[in-house]
């Protein structure tokens, strides 16, 4: 269990995936859902959860082609070496950008809720430095940290959401199924960014101790995150109603602040809840830095991943500090998802699977022949 072989179990993979996806995007998810489909916004989240599970299945299937090979080497074997390296470079750039946007949002939430006068550079710098340090310790260390912080993040959140059930008005979800299909479709396309970081499944395969079980594990983890997102969206809409949710900046935080905790003596309940989210944010930053450095190392084929972490961390900090207005973040996240996100989560896995089948490459096809 405590071997230092840089391999993780299926349970650890599931925990890492859940923490990585459950980022700051979830805090605004109900607002975005309501903007597209009013009280029917939860339908968008339900559809997204199903599609994301399908995408996780596809990405893990790619990993099963060459279980011990890195993403860059798999893509190189199936397509060509330059194509594999180009894909690795683009993937690393996407992760760094994702990480910078996440850090920028994180900084903004911290500024508005807890530290209004502290410069963004300090908050972002602290988050990136600590995440980079954790990333330098390797994937197994990340998995063990995730195992420790998983109950710390989720047990209080789940208790708060269960308590919230007593104080909601489910009629706020009525009438159902009145949103136009076009709005649901538009919302599904635009809100898919809530599942950003899921594409890490493509890169993480060489680190799995039981690669044959990873597909089922990854799909079920994504389904669980989707169900959690759906639950949060439903109770937030039921708590405030669609009109109010559409006006709030961070409706999930507001909802958590409004929940009456029996016997609670904590004045800033929102800040306490946010602190659990901060842990999740560190996990995402750490993931992006770790995997972008692994990708850069595989592309350049030189040295260990440590110096690449420093490069990724510096670029991340620079991009996060360049975004002056936090509201600019959402359009960029949407654009990133609609282009590279969909590309890596859907188009590329399908392409790689089709090529492997045609060219009879990969462990499964090689065994058959």
């Amino acid at each position: 269990m405590f071997s230092m072989n840089n391999k993780i179990s299926v349970r650890q993979l599931q925990i890492l995936l859940i923490i990585d996806i459950f980022g700051t995007g979830v805090i605004i998810l109900p607002r975005r859902a309501v903007e597209f489909a009013g009280q029917d916004g939860w339908i968008i989240v339900a559809i997204l959860a199903c599609l994301a599970t399908g995408s996780a299945y596809l990405m893990s299937s790619v990993g099963r082609l060459f279980p011990s090979e890195s993403f860059v080497r798999t893509a190189s074997k199936l397509l060509s070496k330059p194509a594999g390296k180009a894909l690795g470079l683009i993937f690393a750039a996407k992760l760094i950008l994702n990480c910078a946007l996440e850090i920028r949002m994180f900084g903004e939430i911290i500024r508005q809720t807890m530290l209004p006068n502290t410069p963004l550079a300090v908050v972002a710098g602290a988050a990136i430095s600590i995440s980079a340090y954790a990333a330098s310790k390797g994937y197994e260390a990340r998995a063990r940290i995730a195992q420790i912080i998983f109950p710390i993040i989720f047990i209080p959140l789940i208790i708060v959401f269960i308590l919230a059930l007593r104080q909601i008005d489910m009629t706020n979800l009525l009438p159902v199924f009145v949103a136009k299909p076009a709005d649901i479709f538009r919302g599904t396309l635009r809100m898919g960014s809530a599942f950003s970081c899921m594409e890490l499944i493509l890169i993480a395969h060489p680190f799995f101790a039981n690669p044959e079980k990873a597909r089922k594990g990854a799909s079920s983890a994504i389904l669980l995150v989707g169900a959690l997102m759906l639950f949060i969206t439903i109770i937030t809409i039921a708590k405030f109603g669609p009109f109010d949710v559409s006006r709030q900046l961070w409706p999930v935080l507001e909802m958590m602040d409004m929940v009456e905790m029996p016997g609670s003596f904590i004045e800033r309940q929102d800040a306490l809840m946010l602190s659990f989210w901060i842990l999740s944010n560190f996990a995402i930053t750490n993931s992006c830095l770790f995997f972008s450095s692994i990708l850069l190392k595989d592309v350049i084929e030189k040295g260990r991943h440590l110096p690449y972490i420093c490069v990724s961390a510096l670029i991340t900090a620079a991009i996060a500090l360049m975004i002056t207005n936090a509201e600019q973040v959402y359009p960029i996240i949407d654009f990133l998802f609609l282009t590279l996100g969909l590309g890596f989560m859907v188009v590329l896995p399908i392409l790689l699977l089709v090529v492997a089948r045609i060219r009879k490459k990969g462990v499964i096809y090689e065994k058959q022949t």
Binding site: T118, V122, T171, P175, V178, M258, E267, R268
Partner: protein, 379 residues
């Protein structure tokens, strides 16, 4: 050397981790407990007059101090945040609204649609003011409530919070006291009810606060005030009259019913093109007094007679409130249009265009059932 370098990193992080840019010493922070917002006027050229009540520093340091236990600061400004900034300039402490319990709107402000909207928006946008803050209205000026010297209840904010937590009774709009509820109501139709607080004086001249009744807001503007009984008529419809005391005259004097639960169900139906609203109210309660009468209250027929009386009294309260809201104010404070949207979308689409007229014409039919669960314990 390497180990010293390793030590240097955590030490450096200690300086960053404290968030020292936001450090404020406790004695340098002015904790606002209550906020009053009035319309600027008189000699003031500004549009708003904002008052804030803070526990006084002397009062905090020494409870036995002769100094008053609160300080009220006032400032006028073209908008509420400017007024708050000006207020901050008159204090050596940094004013902090994160602990504020109460915001009171004066009647003049409620009567001005634009100003009231701006005031609500200012409260909603101020990140220090939480959505759980109590919101009250008053027929006079909010500043008078904050400035009043009330011996037993030095701070209106703490009084209101404790009142709702410990002793809230019917007629005080328990479910509508928070900023969150009021914002939700206003967003879904521009109508709401805001609980009312008034400054009263005893015959001896001592000031006290009285909570009861509410202000009816229609289209973001004050339409009028409801008294405690009319407010209870609203609470019956919303299924929120727990704790009410319904007193009806009976043979041997008044017999009050202590309500332990009051649930309601609202149904809409269209009859002959007219919308009707059936309000089914189920009340459970105990008889608290019975005038030392000879009649046994353990007899089913005696209880049944009383149930009918209580049912009539509750029906009348519902109808009185409905008449006021429908005919006099034309304000759908119940949120019937929103309920219709949720329950009968096609009917909602038909009536939403001329809702004010439809609301005024709509027949509200109360069907009340009173279940007396106890006739009181006789020792």
């Amino acid at each position: 050397m390497k180990s010293k370098l390793k030590l240097l990193f955590p030490i450096a992080f200690l300086f960053l981790a404290s968030g020292c840019w936001d450090k404020v010493e406790l004695e340098s922070r002015g904790f606002v407990v209550s906020l009053g917002i009035d319309l600027g006027g008189g000699e003031s050229p500004f549009r708003y007059s904002v008052s804030a009540s803070l526990p006084s520093v002397n009062g905090m340091r020494d409870e036995a101090s002769n100094d008053s236990s609160k300080t009220v600061k006032k400032a006028d400004g073209p908008d509420i945040s400017s007024a708050l900034s000006l207020m901050g300039m008159s204090s050596s402490q940094k004013l902090y609204l994160g602990q504020a319990r109460l915001v009171i709107f004066g009647a003049e402000l409620l009567g001005d649609e634009e100003r009231f909207k701006e005031a609500i928006d200012a409260c909603e946008r101020n990140h220090e003011i939480g959505r759980k803050i109590f919101v009250l209205s008053t027929k006079g000026k909010a500043s008078d409530i904050l400035e009043a010297d009330i011996g037993e209840e030095p701070s209106a904010g703490i009084y209101i919070e404790n009142y709702y937590r410990n002793a809230s009774s019917s007629g005080t709009l328990k479910s509508h006291q928070g900023l969150s509820n009021i914002i939700s109501d206003l967003r879904s139709g521009g109508n709401t009810l805001i609980p009312e607080v008034e400054l009263k004086y005893t015959q001896g001249g001592d000031a006290y606060l009285e909570l009861g009744g509410c202000a009816a807001v229609k289209g973001f503007k004050l339409a009028g005030f409801l008294d405690s009984k009319q407010t209870r008529g609203f609470e019956w419809v919303m299924g929120d009259a727990r704790g009410a005391e319904v007193s009806v005259p009976f043979e041997s004097g008044n017999e009050p019913l202590s309500v332990s639960s009051g649930r309601s169900k609202i149904r809409f139906q269209e009859i002959g093109g007219n919308l009707e609203c059936n309000v089914d109210v189920k009340v459970r309660g105990s008889i608290a007094e019975s005038g030392f009468s000879e009649e046994s209250l353990y007899d089913a027929s005696a209880l049944s007679k009383r149930s009918v009386k209580y049912e009539e009294a509750i029906k009348q309260e519902i109808l009185d409130c409905a008449k006021l809201l429908q005919e006099d104010f034309g304000a759908d404070a119940y949120g019937f249009l929103d309920m219709l949207r949720k329950r009968s979308y096609s009917a909602y689409k038909r009536v939403e265009g001329e809702w004010e007229e439809n609301f005024k014409k709509m027949k509200i039919i109360p069907n009340v059932t009173v279940d007396i669960i106890s006739a009181g314990a006789i020792k």
